[in-house]
């Protein structure tokens, strides 16, 4: 993890801002978000509903619906090339070939009238001029890669013949079809049971290792992040509030929100009478407060927090936090 600085930056997101112009007003869904995705890492983005984590990932692929959405500011540099300035035709090339997406809902992400083989072959041939027979072979290889037993037979199955976990594997296979360097997984396991979730997460880690992919994993589950990711971004109220390698984040969270979140989830290995809670609820994205967006729920909030918005700054090497009064950095190596 220490060698991260020397790693190649694959995706460099700078000051990304996405707004939704709705009947009810302008929703600031992503506010001035900057981060980098390195080669061969799993970057977790964690946040609650409405925190902007999904819109961030969708914006990097330019998949948000326009209108009502609009990326109003920022740059998304994919290997040095600004994705936001590409034409729609160039985008089609980038999607699948450079960045691919794994969706949350394994039931609806597959087309029920085609066999899974046909859908993988279509994805393969979209991006390369491969013959049909060859593409089918590659499809079987991909199914094998994602751990589907007897792929030679399964390739001719229809989606409804597969279980939820198997479908999610097929979706991963489709995502891998164009041999992209970046996979974006948006809540890939939320619809699945824990035992299947563990299998899928293991698969994602394996793919990262063996295929040398970079993965952006979006989830609301801090457990999933801890078990899967190398680096984490915590989002709250459309902003990044903390960014850190995984281990220090869990041992020594810096932002009061991260700290509160970690202490409020019940843990398997300890018994407590009462859980710690973060009082209140997430701010309204139509009317975000002027100061720190967490300050109405924060135990440490001072007058300054209400008035002045904290900026993301480096608190320790590799660790960023947006808070006027962050928790102390512990250095126990």
């Amino acid at each position: 993890m220490e060698s991260q600085n020397t790693l190649k930056v694959l995706l460099d997101v700078k000051n990304l801002t996405t707004r939704f112009f709705t009947d009810d007003g302008i929703v600031l869904a992503v506010d001035n978000v900057s981060f980098q995705l390195m080669e061969g890492e799993i970057l977790g983005i964690v946040g609650e509903s409405g925190s902007g984590k999904s819109v961030t990932s969708m914006s990097t692929m330019r998949l948000i619906p326009i209108p009502p959405g609009e990326i109003t500011e920022g740059q998304v540099l994919l290997k040095g090339r600004d994705v936001l300035k590409c034409s729609e035709k160039e985008m089609q090339d980038i999607r699948g070939n450079e960045i691919a997406m794994i969706f949350q809902e394994p039931m609806t992400a597959l087309n029920p009238v085609y066999t899974i083989g046909a859908q993988i072959i279509e994805a393969i041939r979209q991006h390369s001029k491969m013959g049909k027979a060859k593409a089918r072979e590659r499809a079987i290889d991909l199914l094998k890669l994602v751990g589907i037993p007897a792929p030679e037979k399964r390739v001719d199955d229809y989606p409804h013949q597969l279980s939820g976990g198997m479908r999610q594997r097929v979706i991963i296979a489709i995502a891998l079809a164009g041999n992209p360097s970046i996979l974006i997984a948006d809540e890939p396991t939320t619809a699945l049971d824990v035992t299947i979730q563990a299998q899928i997460l293991r698969l994602i880690r394996e793919i990262k290792e063996t295929q040398n992919k970079s993965v952006m994993l979006i989830t609301h589950d801090l457990g999933v992040i801890a078990q899967t990711c190398d680096r984490v971004i915590v989002m709250y109220g459309a902003e990044i509030v903390e960014q850190s390698p995984v281990r220090p984040l869990y041992k020594n969270p810096l932002h009061p929100y991260t700290e509160g979140l970690l202490s409020s989830i019940p843990k398997m290995d300890e018994d407590v009478e009462r859980l710690n809670v973060i009082e209140g609820m997430v701010p309204n994205p139509l009317a975000l407060p002027a100061g720190c967006r967490f300050c109405s729920r924060c135990k440490k909030a001072q007058e300054r927090c209400k008035a002045e918005k904290p900026t993301l700054r480096e608190a320790a090497p590799g660790r960023l936090v947006a808070c006027h009064y962050p928790c102390e950095v512990q250095t126990d190596e």
């Binding site: 824990v194 035992t195 563990a198 293991r202 869990y250 843990k267 398997m268 009462r274 859980l275 809670v277």
Partner: protein, 335 residues
């Protein structure tokens, strides 16, 4: 714990409960072609004041079991004893009286509240159904209930669409405890909520239990939440209880191979705790055609070495250690 179970009076006793939903073919003349064995022979005792947690993956029948206890299905066989009384065949007025004592908290805070009713209407509905109550008193009681669950009074005339998920869940909870029931079945009450709201609701449920002397049947797939709130935990697989145990024992020393797999699959919010040696393979088979013998044998890592019994004979729930029941042939010798 086990002594407590022996001494305390059981509030709910379920004996060999089965819920089979018939499956029909799709032709013009309907013909039954099988059953979905949603609950397939469950025995369960919940003592007064206890919180019994029920965990399992989707489709294991945990929600169906909860609703069958509430007498919401006609397809139920077996016996349900509530407070010493057989409630399996109650009808009409008797069933209505039972409704006072048993309530349900739902998973989905959106669909479980009638969108066209105000908060006052929703919370007062159970009171109006069971008691003759003057307008002023009704208002007072709704006011109290809102106070207890932490909803500001000013929201009484608003409709559910104006609330967040957590607040809606509080409304549902107020409705459930309005008649001071003896047993509350919590059907995944926090699964649909945001992480920071989940702990608020879990604490609220714990407070209410003390204040109203409630007994909970807490159904969830989130193991950590179940473990936090429960005294005893039952693990369900394919319509059957495979393990019942006090929570500390279950987490420290799970006996059934399925429980072991389930617990090790939970992603811990701690990067140093990586425990994967028991990762379960495969997925839950169809409850229309459950595997022969032990329903877990196709996924069990011991089945191959265990001999023929796992494939042919269904293991019964037996006491393997004091207070710790398990349905697995691995532990038959000790019994």
């Amino acid at each position: 714990m086990s002594e407590q179970i022996l001494n305390a009076r059981p509030l709910l006793e379920v004996q060999d409960l089965k819920v089979y939903f018939p499956v029909y073919n799709k032709s013009l003349i309907r013909k039954k072609i099988g059953d979905v064995k949603a609950v397939d022979g469950v025995n369960l005792i919940i003592t007064k004041g206890q919180t019994f947690g029920l965990v399992g993956e989707s489709g294991c029948g945990k929600s169906t079991l909860g609703r069958a206890i509430l007498r919401l299905y006609n397809e139920t066989t077996g016996r349900i004893l509530f407070d010493g009384r057989d409630i399996t065949d109650l009808k009409g007025r008797e069933l209505l009286r039972l409704r006072r004592d048993m309530q349900l908290i739902f998973q989905d805070p959106y669909s479980s509240l009638d969108p066209r009713m105000t908060v006052f209407d929703i919370i007062s509905e159970p009171i109006k159904l069971h008691e003759k109550c003057g307008k002023e008193e009704l208002r007072k009681r709704v006011h109290e209930l809102m106070d207890v669950v932490g909803l500001p009074d000013s929201m009484m005339t608003r409709r559910p669409s104006e609330f967040s998920g957590g607040q809606r869940q509080r409304i549902g909870i107020a409705r459930a405890i309005a008649l001071k029931p003896k047993l509350v079945i919590c059907d995944e009450p926090v699964s649909a909520l945001d992480v920071s709201i989940q702990s608020q609701i879990l604490n609220l449920l714990a407070d209410l239990k003390k204040e109203y002397d409630l007994t909970y049947l807490f159904i969830a797939h989130g193991l950590a939440a179940v473990k936090h709130i429960s005294d005893d935990i039952g693990v369900m697989y394919l319509g059957r209880l495979v393990e019942v145990s006090p929570k500390s024992q279950l987490y420290r020393n799970p006996l059934h191979p399925y429980s072991q797999g389930l617990i090790s699959a939970v992603p811990e919010p701690d990067p140093d705790l990586k425990k994967e040696e028991n990762l379960l393979s495969g997925e839950v088979p169809s409850p229309i055609n459950p595997p022969s013998g032990c329903p877990f044998h196709p996924r069990c890592r011991f089945a191959a070495s265990c001999g023929q019994r796992c494939y042919t004979e269904r293991p019964e729930l037996r006491e393997a250690e004091p207070g710790h029941l398990v349905a697995c042939h691995l532990f038959d010798k000790e019994a």
